[in-house]
């Protein structure tokens, strides 16, 4: 039989690739798809045989050829025949002919037509052992290879009568009829096939492109639809887009609902219409776009205006839409957070109310505690003063203990009030010019009784010449008494508590005080928390546990209100040392703002002392306060300075003024002071005596050094004046 004969022919002789037929690819599509990633799904969709079958069938019928579609690996995806049962039978019967080309009847060399076509990009023509020719054309999109179409001459002779009969049976026709059909299948000529290769190439290419376009379009439509649904579905956020000038170009349902404009009326409008009039005046819309331009996005929270002029609190997010460095517009998301803001406001109000209530409660409690405390205090002091008759030493001792405890209770009530002040930021200090040595002596004598009860020695290790400090005496007293009482509380009987001062090189402008005890000490973890509120170290013995545990917390607050710091050094079993710093009084610092170059142009500063004495008796403290206010009115604000009280003894009767003026200017000030004091004290019970000293300034620059010199000189004059007065007394 012919087929058997043809099988004997060497394959290489017949499998001869024809010249590839190259066709120009669509440059636009090529460019577009140059970097295209095609998913396996898209690939499968592109080569869906059902889509191809019609065109391939038409082609095959017209050209009287068999046609098959393969993927890029040469795997057959589907075959169309124009009355080609013969070919099909041959192909299917010849099992073991190798995979790949469905057209080749070869035994040795696998057909490379598809691979060659994909490699070269053109049609490849091959003749097989049976003497039939087929042509493979690639399906390409740009650089992407999708598959191939193979068109082949149909074999018109059938080698196996046995098989023919079987096939005829399968197809339900007579073997004779099948044979006749097969015989009619005259293969097209090679020339026709070659020419049709070109046509097939173009056809395949065109159809692939069309199909690709159609798929993309469908996908785009689907995505668009989905996106539109998504955007429209967002109801609680307004989403809209703008062009670079701020005109609205897109508007979603949420925007319509939230901002109250329908798409038709807002399109093309400037987005500033959603801002308040005030914001528009302050150019807020422009500033926000500018920020979004510079930083890519801008976020803001504030009042925005709806179409019906109602305002709502909005969270606004503007994102610049950039494409290749050019701003195409902005995308804006607006969220109505009025409710959230309301909740936050309500929460804040609730917090403040709670704080206020707490403060009220605490001050009420401390007020209510004071009333019975006062009665106990008064009756106890009455008894101790012998108001109700003489006491035996034993009664006196017991009453003294009672009084001590009342005093302790009193200080606890004060602590309670201080705590509320700390929390409401009302804890204030009124610093003044203060001599520490005297204050410490005074405090130590107050604490002596307490110490004596426990047989504890109080010691003072204070440097002989301490600088004056700038602090509130009542508060310093409170801090020191607290620390000393703690020391006494925790030191064992027979121990020591020492108050000392030391220079504090790391805290410039501050003086460091310390209170040390020979008590049980504080462990390192407790050192961290002793200054916290309500912290009293648990391991301390029951006997030493008293008080509210607020003392160190309040002390820390007071020290920090003075600008200083407080800390503790301690070791378990070796006692503790509490340190705190207080600012050193600096006349230079106090005067610095008035002793400036323009103020010092006259070349001198006048130091004025105003001694106020009463015709009878002492001047009362509150009168002195008012005299201070009168004097403050007499000096030129910003140019002169009325020094704080520089004397330790209360009440002060001398006021000091540093005036940036000469002797002539002094006369003006002095006459003004006399006039004002006479107005204040029409009964003429006060006798003001005003004296002055002129401090000449060295010519030249008015620097810090000069100011320090003036301040030092003024301080000397103050001390001299006070000393002189003391001598007079």
């Amino acid at each position: 039989m012919t087929s058997q004969a043809s099988r004997r022919v060497d394959a290489s002789e017949y499998l001869s690739p024809a010249t590839p037929i190259l066709f120009p690819s669509d440059s636009g599509l090529l460019h577009e798809s140059a970097n295209m990633e095609v998913s396996p799904t898209l690939r499968a969709e592109l080569l869906d045989f059902n889509a191809w079958s019609e065109i391939l069938t038409t082609y095959g019928r017209t050209m009287r050829v068999a046609v098959a579609l393969t993927d890029s690996q040469g795997q057959v995806l589907g075959k169309c025949h124009n009355a080609q049962p013969v070919w099909r039978l041959v192909r299917d019967a010849a099992c073991g002919w190798g995979s790949g080309c469905p057209f080749c009847i070869t035994t040795h060399v696998p057909c490379t037509a598809v691979a060659d076509a994909l490699r070269t990009g053109g049609a490849v023509m091959v003749r097989d052992q049976a003497g039939l020719t087929h042509v493979a054309v690639p399906l390409l999109l740009g650089k992407l290879r999708f598959g191939a179409i193979i068109a082949g001459q149909v074999f018109d002779r059938y080698p196996e009568p046995l098989l023919l009969r079987r096939v005829a049976k399968e197809f339900g026709v007579s073997a004779q009829r099948l044979w006749e059909l097969a015989r009619e299948q005259r293969p097209v000529s090679n020339a026709v096939l070659r020419a049709s290769g070109d046509l097939l190439c173009a056809l395949g290419h065109a159809f692939l492109r069309q199909r690709y376009g159609a798929i993309l379009e469908a996908k785009l439509a689907e995505t668009n639809g989905r996106f539109r649904l998504l955007v429209e579905g967002v109801r609680d956020h307004a989403l809209f887009t703008m062009d670079p000038t701020g005109r609205v170009t897109g508007w979603n349902g949420g925007a319509e609902r939230l901002l109250g404009y329908v798409e038709a009326e807002i399109m093309g409008q400037n987005f500033s219409c959603i801002f308040t009039r005030e914001d528009i005046q302050n150019r807020v819309p422009e500033k926000q776009l500018q920020k979004a331009l510079e930083e890519g996005r801008a976020e803001d929270e504030g009042w925005r205006v709806r179409g019906d002029r109602k305002q709502f609190w909005a969270n606004v997010n503007i994102t610049a839409l950039e494409d290749a460095g050019i701003t195409r517009g902005f995308a804006i998301i607006v969220h109505d957070v009025t409710e959230r803001r309301k909740i936050a406001t309500v929460l804040e109000e609730a917090r403040q109310e709670r704080e206020c209530l707490q403060e009220k409660l605490l001050s009420h409690v401390s007020h209510e505690l004071r009333t019975p405390l006062t009665a106990i205090y008064i009756f106890t002091t009455n008894l101790l003063d012998g108001v109700c008759g003489d006491l035996t030493p034993y009664q006196h001792e017991h009453l003294t203990f009672a009084l001590d405890n009342v005093k302790q209770l009193k200080s606890m009530v004060s602590d309670l009030l201080d705590i509320t002040r700390v929390e409401t930021h009302k804890l204030t200090v009124e610093p003044q010019h203060l001599s520490l040595a005297k204050l410490i002596d005074d405090i130590l004598s107050t604490c002596l009784t307490n110490a004596a009860v426990k047989n504890i020695t109080l010691r003072s290790d204070v440097a002989p010449s301490l600088p004056f400090i700038w602090a509130d005496p009542a508060r310093v007293r409170q801090i020191l008494i607290n620390l000393i009482d703690n020391g006494i509380k925790f030191a064992p009987a027979g121990g020591n508590v020492t108050v000392a001062t030391r220079p504090s090189p790391e805290d410039e402008g501050f003086l460091c005080l310390s209170v040390s005890d020979t008590g049980c000490g504080i462990s390192s973890e407790n050192r961290e928390i002793v200054f916290d509120r309500l912290s009293q170290v648990r391991s301390t013995t029951e006997a030493s546990r008293s008080g509210l545990g607020l003392g160190l917390f309040i002390s820390r607050e007071l020290v920090s209100r003075h600008g200083g710091r407080i800390w503790v050094e301690s070791e378990l079993g070796h006692g503790s040392i509490f340190y705190f710093t207080l600012p050193v009084f600096s006349l230079a610092k106090l005067c610095a703002h008035v002793l400036t170059a323009p103020n010092l142009e006259a070349g001198c500063v006048t130091f004025i002392a105003v001694d106020v004495a009463a015709v009878e008796g002492a001047v009362q403290a509150d009168i002195l306060l008012e005299i201070r206010q009168v004097l403050e009115r007499c000096i030129r604000p910003g140019q002169d300075v009325l020094l704080p009280s520089m004397s330790d003894a209360e009440p002060v009767e001398t006021f000091f003024i540093v005036a940036c003026t000469d002797a002539k200017g002094f006369e003006v000030i002095a006459s003004r002071i006399v006039r004002e004091l006479l107005n204040f004290d029409s009964a003429s019970k006060l006798k003001p005596v005003i004296s002055s000293t002129t401090v000449l300034l060295a010519p030249g620059q008015f620097g810090e050094e000069q100011i320090d010199n003036v301040a030092a000189r003024v301080e000397q004059l103050v001390q001299a004046h006070l000393l002189g007065k003391e001598r007079l007394q």
Binding site: T374, V387, E616
Partner: protein, 133 residues
């Protein structure tokens, strides 16, 4: 020298009792009033040398008493020491502005309080009174 007359205005009976005993022992004559209205009546009738005034009173608080006294020529010159359980931070300046000569928070320090009374009565006061003990 006649006995100095001190009017104590406070609604706490125990305080009145204790303070009266204390001041009588110091040689003062003491009269009491327990509310704002009777305070003015008693003050006008008795014309004391000094008034010790509580701020929280029935029938108008201590500030009302101070204001009323300022309007009455026979009372305007009488020194007033305020003795109150209220927070001095909020009330001291207000009381001094309203005409009080001193403000003490309850319970007052015994020495300081007696010193202030003597000062207000124009008696000589030892300097040590001012140095807190």
């Amino acid at each position: 020298m006649t006995e100095k007359k001190i009017l104590i205005i406070d609604d706490d009976q125990h305080l009145l009792l204790g303070l009266t005993a204390k001041l009588k022992a110091k040689g003062y004559r003491v009269i009491c009033a327990a509310d704002a209205i009777s305070a003015i009546t008693v003050a006008r009738k008795e014309v004391p040398d000094l008034i010790i005034l509580d701020l929280g009173l029935p029938a108008g608080d201590g500030f009302r008493v101070l204001e009323r006294m300022r309007d009455l020529p026979d009372l305007v010159a009488i020194p007033v020491i305020v003795l109150s359980a209220r927070d001095p931070a909020d009330n001291k300046k207000r009381a001094l502005d309203a005409g009080a000569v001193a403000f003490f928070q309850k319970p007052p320090d015994n020495h300081e309080f007696l010193g202030a009374i003597r000062l207000a009565l124009g008696e000589t006061v030892a300097l040590s009174t001012f140095l807190k003990t």
